[in-house]
Symmetry: C2
Subunit: 491 residues, 2 copies
């Protein structure tokens, strides 16, 4: 193998880093906590972004762009929002540099101090609701269904590529409505959009739920989420959709004249997913040989590797590969012919496995003579020799099959790792030995939630939507409970 | 009219602002110098971005993403680059906020001061070349053909929506090559991509040229540009493509092992266009009634306005409109049926004119009875009644015709406003009375260029590519010259 990958068993965390870096998705940068998203990783993000963007537009949303900077005073306006976000932010205090009068390169010009500091957006509710004040006068201006694709900055002290970085890319939807019913319907619609995207494009089964009060977004009335399970048994929040009530409308004084001619505060939602999803994708599907990417969003779906000696064989194989490529491209399949002379087939096989290309064709001179081609699928590593007649249709079906198999495998793993427990002893044992989601009764108080977190590092990931109602006793306090919630250790 | 637009004659600058703001493209924000790009303006940008992105990919480029922040010390590394960019930047000095101990909202935590200040990228050459150092070892790693779509910040004191804002959106290509020939070919290829985009998509004729030394990008060996002409006779630089030589490779010590086994510095290019192009688009084509947008990038290409009394007529017209919409959509044409009951047809006509929708159909009950529909084109304001049979094909052709007419009109205006002059008196007179490009001899020195700029505010926009060589005398100094250059007052 060209690039050594740490195995999951050996060091799960290093395995993840190896995949991201050696798989050419991203790398650390010279700026603490900020990553460089490399072309291969960015192509993956583009496929994810484009699929999501289409789903947003199909549900009536439009894109817009708001300023990168937020005046410091804006963050003071919504009390709960400050609590959650004000702490770790990049703060712009000056607007000019100058040559060091002592000749030491360049320095910040002390004269160019801003009157009010600007915060690099950690999220845009405040600047957007300050803008919506100008956009909304009457019920005729509602709903506003706007999304923004943007970079945001949260000054994290402990960072991990994609999972937690100081700067990341995301989309943030910010909608405004005349009624709470409509806003709640929007919140849940977008949760469903996220769940559908995760399941259909990322092959990632998710649990749809609602957060407890202590896990809610700062400033939200309700936070809905989708939760996914990683191969190490830890959960990962893959998207959130918030019903914000009238909190931001009140903070920024955004009222509308209703049909009944009353001045009322506007109802709000916000919802977002980020490049963190790439981290989830890597950890959910990959193996010790590298990335395993779902065909629907893989930058490259098929690679063809020629195996030849001499120019004559190379030309013959090249001609056949051209024909196959033409057929695949006509179906919109992303394919590459890897005829790089500087690498041997074995090296190429390992490289494409590392990068998670779903299907590899190996085309040799003997194959060609027998009208055969070797087809290898990345997810199961299964190989078969098939006739060159109908190879294009075979691959088209195979890609669909791989997408479905990957989902099924992840779903089976997830099902196997939702464990009902009814005692504290069991609860700790499952968390420590099996991992995954633990479905348990809880007395509904933040105190108990905190105590459990302190003892086990497990948090309540969510209260699943359409949760079964049943009588039980809190695993920690023994107090009565009406439903189980899902606990897990999480990213 | 619903929204009053200042005429060009009355106040050109206010006319431009009215179009941008009342035409729903963008607006000022609460942050000095930063704009909000509204959904309609952003849809226009998306169409421009997608067309450009496709052209970049068709010429072998891939996208990536680099950090928003640049360590201050990086800007000191390339001397000429500092000179051009170090001055007006947003500087991040702190990474945490805290609750004011005196209860006055939130304040910057003085303990959380960065050891080295971070600059919000004004352009990314430095951070990218610092990264390329890790990516490039041998000639096999070259060329690197990377583009980034990003926001950048330049702390401009005098801002104008789209034309000059503190934050703007752009793309920046950064390529690395083994030879100067290849890098220069890339620089010129991208200039041609920009020119083709401006002419074919924006209907904006441009002059391809090269900048004089004083107008070069900071750190470039050569800056190529496309220059467009606005309706007030001022020029606007619509895109630049820089051959950077080995300047950044030397500053960041990026060497490669050549085929001949020699360690050599890498050759670089960078090229970019920004949301400034939207300003150019507005000023090149629009009129006193509002925006005039070229069909290829217009967010909405066709709008259908029903004219009816009562529900029965509305239903009949709606059914016919549905049929037309289906036909147009099948051809990929962006169409909207404006059946808003709260506005009268006259108001809608004015609104769609203001927003520059290329084609408007008015469909009334009498028209329907006669199997007719009224088709109005935005660019010439011409109206005609045509048969409903074949309306879809008619519109398809009409959109092509409008695109071409808009280009022709702008090209004719531009041709009429390139004036050859051979004396200083003429030079000043043309600049003051006619405007446009002035083609004149210049002695080739930066001193003369400066003197002309001081006297007239005109700058050398470019030395056109494939410029005619002819003997002449500098209009200011009378010294000998071998070719004419293009002067203009510019945005
Ligand atoms: Zn297990
Ligand atoms: Zn004229």
């Amino acid at each position: 193998m060209s690039k050594e990958i740490t195995s999951r068993e050996q060091d799960y965390s290093q395995w993840y880093n190896d995949l991201v870096i050696k798989g050419s998705l991203a790398d650390y940068s010279a700026v603490r906590g900020c990553m460089v998203i490399k072309p291969y990783g960015f192509a993956l993000w583009e496929n994810m972004r484009d699929a999501l963007d289409k789903m947003f537009k199909d549900t009536g949303h439009v894109n817009a762009y708001f300023p990168l900077f937020i005046p410091k005073s804006f963050l003071s306006k919504e009390a709960a929002h400050v609590e959650g976000f004000a702490k770790e932010c990049a703060v712009v205090t000056h607007y000019r540099l100058m040559n060091d009068p002592n000749g030491g390169g360049i320095v910040v010009d002390p004269e160019a101090k801003l009157e009010e500091e600007l915060i690099v957006r950690p999220t845009s509710e405040t600047i957007i609701w300050n803008t919506y004040k100008d956009w909304i006068q009457s019920y005729r201006d509602l709903p506003i269904l706007v999304n923004q694709w943007a970079n945001v900055v949260r000054w994290e002290m402990r960072t991990r590529l994609f999972l937690r970085t100081a700067e990341f890319l995301w989309q943030e939807g910010h909608t405004a409505h005349a009624t709470p019913e409509e806003a709640i319907a929007e919140t849940r619609q977008m949760l469903e959009v996220y769940a559908t995207f995760a399941e259909e494009f990322m092959a990632l089964p998710v649990i749809r739920g609602v957060k407890t009060e202590s896990e809610r977004f700062a400033g939200a009335v309700d936070t809905y989420c989708i939760e996914a399970l990683m191969q190490d048994g830890k959960a990962l929040q893959a998207g959130t959709s918030h019903f914000l009530g009238q909190n931001f409308a009140k903070a920024f004084d955004v009222k509308f004249l209703s049909k009944e001619n009353q001045l009322e505060y506007v109802w709000a939602t916000s919802w977002g997913v980020s490049t963190r999803l790439i981290g989830a994708l890597v950890m959910a599907h990959s193996d010790d040989d590298g990335l395993v990417l779902p065909p629907k969003i893989a930058p490259l779906q098929v690679v063809i590797v020629p195996i030849y000696k001499g120019d004559e064989q190379k030309a013959q194989i090249g001609a056949k590969a051209d024909e196959i490529m033409k057929g695949l491209k006509a179906l919109g399949i992303r394919v590459k012919y890897d005829d790089n002379d500087n690498a041997r087939p074995g090296w190429k096989f390992a490289e494409h496995e590392l990068k998670g290309v779903p299907v590899r064709l190996a085309l040799g001179a003997r194959d060609l003579a027998n009208n055969l081609v070797e087809v290898a699928r990345r997810d199961t590593k299964a190989k078969e020799s098939i006739s060159l007649d109908g190879v294009v249709e075979h691959i088209e079906k195979l890609l669909v099959d791989i997408q479905q198999s990957m989902y099924n495998k992840a779903a089976a793993y997830r099902e196997e790792h939702i464990t009902k427990v009814d005692s504290w002893e069991e609860f700790e044992k499952v968390l420590d030995e099996k991992g995954g989601f633990v479905s348990a009764h809880w007395d509904g108080t933040a105190e108990t939630e905190d105590a459990i977190k302190e003892k086990t590092k497990a948090t309540i990931r969510c209260i699943p939507l359409n949760n079964t109602q049943e009588d039980g006793k809190c695993i920690l306090t023994g107090k009565p409970s009406k439903e189980r919630v899902l606990f897990a250790r999480a990213y």
